[in-house]
Amino acid sequence: MIHRLDPRTKQAILMGISVVSVWGQTAFLASFSIMMILCFRSAGIRISDFVREIRYFLLFLLFIYGLRTITIDSNWIPFFSLESAGDAMVVCWRLLLIVMMGVLLVATTRTAHIRAAMIWYLGPVPVVNEKMAATMVGMIVRFLPLILFRGGEISDALRARCIEQRKNPVVRTVKFTIVLFRRIFLDADEFALAMQARCYNEQRTLPKLTFTRIDVIAVAMVFLLSFSILFDTCVSPIFLLFHFG
């Protein structure tokens, strides 16, 4: 079902839930998490693969968790509080779910369709050249593996010439970065020429996008899910107030 959703619907859901989740607490995040796990299953993405792919982001989340958990008192002494640990967990949970949605979008949608949806959304926005912006997104997706590959090659070449013997990390970084940047700029030049050679222009044929009944069902489901925020913010405090004083 997720594969058949219109990319515009997927992007709208991603944007909508990202905004709404700011107010969401545990009930919303729990129900949203269950939905994401079901979606991952339906899209054929294994959680173990997902964790492996975002391992560096998980480290980043851990860093954020640490930053938000440890607070500094008036005497500039850092201390750990259980209350901020709970808040930090909710923040990290939200970020993780947004990343999960992003991964789901990328895994179930062709980049050309994501680009076309982006053009549709940015079309009415004044000043922004939606076609240029969409091309840039496509180029980033294409160019990123090439940059990583070049980085790996340059790093291997430097190690083959005993760069590790240089103790100064700044020197090592400079040696790596200058070569990498020079190579990337040359690649970018060649890339632009290759696009020109194939008649690149902004007026291109875009994939046809169509809304279907599945999109309506998906939006309705997400809308219902968003109601669990009400449970978090209104219903549950009132319930607690009446029953437990």
Binding site: G138, P145, E190, Q196, L206
Partner: protein
């Protein structure tokens, strides 16, 4: 019928180096030409002029009678170029997307794009690879995808810049087979190389460049005899006195 013509074509790089010095050549429709030359002889610069990627410092380039400098887009529709480094030519996120990039730029209808992509991928033996990421293809497959990306635009002329560099034996054979098949289908082919061995037996014409000038031009059998003086290694069969023989049987 002459399809491409250059008249006294000169190119000066930003640092003042003369890349091309008065190159005058014409190419007939359906002709298979090999342009040979040592590194820095101006082969790639020359090809880029034919595709309108560079503008002449002086002189002119015409494709189908139209000036390339005045209408590079029209020239690019007629003249497709396969770059030396296939990695930097592949712009799509999947094999399908890359082959479709050119036709999409030509604003063709989606059905026509699908047909062309299917045909182009079949022509280079990449059917079934549509959803693969180009980054994970082998060197030979990337080169064939680069050819498919150009073929999908249905150009009349195919320019190939060092098409055999970094390819192993089976991949080279496949690329040679495809070049020959395209030429048999009346495509005009212009291949640049410093390694004549692989392709010269199939060419009808051999042009030799040195330091930005055309220094020899004619039938391969005639030109290849004295080619060593231009720092180009003659094919083994020529060195053994057997004339030009195909690299693959």
């Amino acid at each position: 019928m002459t399809i491409i013509e250059t008249l006294n074509l000169c190119h000066e790089f930003a640092d003042g180096t003369q890349g091309l010095k008065g190159v005058s050549l014409s190419f007939k429709e359906g002709e298979f030409t090999v342009i040979a030359g040592a590194n820095g002889s101006g082969k790639t610069t020359f090809l880029r002029h034919l595709n309108g990627l560079l503008s002449p410092s002086s002189g002119s380039v015409t494709v189908c009678g139209k000036s390339v400098d005045k209408d590079p887009m029209a020239a690019r529709q007629q003249v497709g170029m396969v770059f030396q480094d296939a990695d930097s030519q592949i712009v799509g996120e999947t094999v399908y997307d890359d082959a479709a990039f050119g036709p999409e730029n030509l604003r063709l209808a989606q059905d026509e794009i699908d047909d062309r992509v299917e045909w182009a991928l079949a022509a280079v033996d990449l059917t079934g690879y549509e959803n693969k990421r180009p980054h994970y293809l082998s060197g030979g497959e990337k080169r064939r995808l680069a050819i498919a990306g150009v073929l999908a635009m249905k150009p009349r002329v195919l320019l190939m810049d060092e098409p055999f560099s970094n390819l192993d034996y089976p991949a080279t054979r496949l690329v040679i087979d495809q070049i020959v098949a395209l030429n048999n289908n009346r495509h005009t082919i212009i291949v640049t190389t410093h390694d004549l061995e692989k392709v010269i037996a199939h060419a009808k014409r051999l042009v030799v460049m040195e330091k930005g000038r055309v220094v020899d031009d004619g039938k391969p059998d005639d030109v290849v005899k004295g080619i060593q003086r231009f720092s180009i290694r003659p094919p083994c069969s020529v060195q053994l006195g057997k004339g030009i023989l195909p690299w693959v049987s």
